[in-house]
């Protein structure tokens, strides 16, 4: 795969060497290439610049970008490793790698901690958990009384906040997750295990595009 395959008008999305990315992640070279196909689609959906903006990120996940929410925004921020405000292909592969079924528990625990530590203070504070809980309830249109919400928070912090300082640090989070392993379920995407077989359409579509482009060029040439 190289720039020759891109349509003449389109900028070729800048991307890191797939072999290098494969070496650094749980993906094989062909899996990285399959991810590149996915990346191209997402990164060109609103602005064709080879980068995923926050709006394109939302659009890809929820097929509409109208819904703003704290979780998607936070996940975007974690994908955007260098705080550029956009996600490039290397960011995309490295972040998705955390969700690979073969990735270590430790990496998933670290990512999930940073995810829930919304303001990046290095602690998951009670107020942050309350905010996330309220966001979930609103999403589900579930109405729970203030009492019940506080009771859930009480129980959570009794379980997780072992030094009872009102916030969960990384060490406490690690311990909490090891006692409640299902909490890491959100950190794995089974789809990633065999992405080239799961999405033959991506490879197939690329070839179709190229054939069409080739014959167009031949005719007009």
């Amino acid at each position: 795969m190289g720039c020759l395959q891109c349509k003449a008008k389109r900028l070729c999305p800048k991307r890191e060497n797939p072999v290098k990315l494969a070496a650094q992640t749980a993906f094989s070279v062909s899996e990285v290439e399959a991810l590149f196909e996915l990346f191209k689609i997402i990164s060109s959906s609103l602005i064709d610049d080879g980068l995923i903006s926050k709006e394109e990120f939302r659009l890809a996940l929820f097929h509409n970008n109208k819904k703003k929410n704290i979780f998607t925004d936070r996940i975007f921020d974690l994908f955007d490793a260098n705080k550029k405000g956009v996600i490039d292909f290397a960011d995309f592969v490295r972040a998705l790698n955390v969700f690979h079924p073969n990735t270590s528990q430790e990496d998933k625990i670290n990512f999930s901690f940073r995810l829930y530590d919304m303001d990046g203070t290095g602690f998951i504070e009670r107020q942050e958990v309350k905010e996330m809980l309220i966001a979930l309830l609103s999403e589900c249109e579930m109405k729970l009384s203030e009492e019940i919400i506080e009771a859930i928070l009480d129980k959570t912090f009794m379980d997780a906040d072992t030094n009872q300082d009102g916030k969960i640090d990384m060490h406490e989070w690690k311990s909490f997750v090891s006692r409640n392993p299902s909490l890491l379920r959100v950190m794995t995407l089974p789809y990633l295990r065999d992405i080239t077989t799961t999405f033959p359409s991506f490879v197939f579509n690329t070839e179709v595009d190229e054939v069409a482009t080739l014959s167009e060029n031949t005719r007009s040439g």
Partner: protein, 182 residues
């Protein structure tokens, strides 16, 4: 795309990759599970739901689900959550009954219920595998999360409709079966 998929050439040797949900069960480390059960109430039977913690609820958010990158359908076609005043035992029993009625093979594993319907020798149409879990919010309020592991969306919707009728949970309203507003 649909045209391609229907073509005989494509169907030869093609079986849709099934996201293997089973490895999730490895996260249910049985030892860790029974230890946490004993921690707060030795009398609770292993089958009963645990009191929910905030992160279990938060984890149900569809906004934490990145499968949208890989699925064309809306996430509401794959997952529902609803609350109910029925007892956990009742909820599990009813889900089990309805699934069995619809020809599913039902397994209970820890706090989860897994139901699978597979027609061997036929095309994949009509196959479905789901997982459901019941959590306690308070002694009179439970939340159920039901997820499609893989399979036929139509059958999934049929199952959800039957459940909503049986449990008296109105669809698409507050406190009912929730679909994400597009």
């Amino acid at each position: 795309m649909a045209g391609i998929k229907n073509d005989e050439w494509f169907k030869q040797d093609y079986s849709p990759a099934v996201p293997d949900d089973d490895e999730e069960d490895t996260y249910f480390d049985d030892e860790a599970f029974s230890m946490s059960e004993m921690a707060y109430d030795g009398n609770k039977s292993p089958e009963s739901p645990t009191l929910i913690n905030a992160f279990q609820l938060i984890g149900m958010s569809s906004y934490l689900d990145l499968s949208g990158f890989f699925e064309k359908e809306d996430v509401s076609e794959r997952k529902i959550r609803f609350t109910s005043n029925h007892s956990a035992k009742d909820l599990v029993a009813r889900i089990q009954d309805i699934a069995t009625e619809m020809g599913f093979r039902v397994q209970m594993k820890n706090r989860r219920l897994k139901a699978t319907r597979e027609h061997r020798g036929q095309k994949c149409v009509g196959n479905l595998s789901i997982a459901a879990e019941v959590f306690e919010i308070s002694p009179s309020l439970y939340v159920v999360e039901l997820r499609k592991s893989y399979g036929d969306s139509t059958v999934y919707r049929q199952l959800c409709t039957k459940l909503s009728k049986d449990l008296g949970v109105p669809m698409g309203q507050g406190q009912g079966l929730i679909s994400i507003e597009a």
